[in-house]
Amino acid sequence: MEPVAVSFAVTREDFLDWRKAQMKRAMAGAYRRTVRLAGVYLLIFSAVAILLCLARGWPLQWLAAIAAAGGVFLIFLLNPTSLAVVRLRAAEEFDSGRAWTPAQAVRFYPDRLEVRSERYEAEIPYGMLFCAYEDGAVFLLYTGGVECRCIPKRAMAPGDCEKVEELLADRLKQKFIQEGAREWTK
């Protein structure tokens, strides 16, 4: 099987997509469910407080309002707000030159991943990857819990994206997380 080769340099937009994807992965699964559950609890608490306020005249209206606002924020606004903040910080990081984004060549072999760049060369078997993540714009290949390499989809030839998806899904099994594509990651 011919390896899938991708050569690219990370642009500003890629870098923003990279950071957004990292954040979405960090906030996926149990974290997202917990936050939403906390929001639901706050809304329920708010409703109970309003009922007590109306039925018994307890002065809980301010507490109910704060709880309701907190619940709405956690359920509907936390994700977009976090994404906006991450995007802003990533843009600052890139513009200030703190993001090191050299040209890279990545090859996906059937048994390993090859990365070549100015200061880093590696041939990593898929079994040594911590996980991989895919969203609409990028693939993230995690070599550690907080270390990852970004491969923008825009740099891939037509059809290569599907080949890489198949390869990662086959080699990494449940360690390959596709945003919204698999039931257990929704």
Partner: protein
């Protein structure tokens, strides 16, 4: 010895989980004063004391002291938790990071130069420049640099570890050192003193320390990091 050789140190090392945990604690200690367990516990205890000072006034005003008492208890519990449980949390986090990165545990050949470090293991070879890192900390057993582009935490073990000369100076103090360590340090750190101080970092008492290598590494890194170089008298 030629100057070029003096400014290069090559060695092999394999990082264990305990050593990484030790480096991770040192990194947390130096990253910010607010991350230190003593500072956090002290803040909580000070806040508890401040609330306790207002207790009589509160009682006169509201004829009860339940709320401030609960607050004081919560703050004292927080202080105890920070002081006693933070090392446990840090070790747990270090374990997570270490076990997530299989490449970190590989035996690697390191070459440390004045401007950069290069390392190569079975799967990867990498060059990181010191200017890319945020800061570097030296403990009695290792050097740890934080914030690299390829590897967020770069750990360089000291040779030996059974008997390492210490710098004079307070823990956590900033400052580069232009002298090699063996020429300055008189105080020594040994496995016996470590046991007496209750430090649980791994030691290799059977291996004789290469004092010259440790001194050269210390000189190289303190010059490279200058104001971003921290020295810890004992492991965090």
């Amino acid at each position: 010895m030629p100057e070029k050789e003096l400014m290069t140190v090559s060695f092999e090392q394999t990082l264990s989980e305990e050593e990484f945990a030790c480096a991770f604690r040192a990194l947390n200690h130096c990253a910010s004063p607010w991350r230190r367990r003593g500072v956090r516990a002290g803040l909580c205890a000070t806040a508890a004391l401040a609330v306790a000072l207002f207790l009589p006034a509160y009682r006169r005003q509201f004829a009860t002291a339940v709320f401030p008492a609960v607050l004081i208890c919560a703050l004292l519990v927080g202080a105890s938790a920070f002081f006693f449980l933070q090392p446990v949390w840090e070790n747990r986090k270090a374990h997570e990071l270490y076990s997530s990165c299989a490449l970190m545990a590989q035996p690697a050949r390191f070459t440390v130069r004045a401007d950069r470090a290069e390392w190569k293991n079975r799967y990867e070879s990498c060059t990181e420049y010191w200017t890319d890192f945020l800061f570097c900390a030296e403990t009695p057993t290792l050097f740890v640099a934080a914030g690299g582009f390829q590897r967020g935490v770069l750990v360089i073990k000291k040779s030996g570890g059974g008997r390492v000369p210490l710098r004079s100076g307070r823990a956590g103090r900033r400052g580069g050192n232009s002298e090699p360590r063996p020429a300055r340090g008189k105080e020594t750190f040994s496995a016996e003193t470590a046991g007496a101080k209750g430090i649980s970092c791994p030691r290799e008492p059977e291996k004789a320390p290469d004092v010259e290598r440790n001194g050269r590494l210390s000189l190289l890194l303190s010059n490279a990091f200058a104001g971003r170089y921290y020295v810890l008298k004992r492991d965090a």
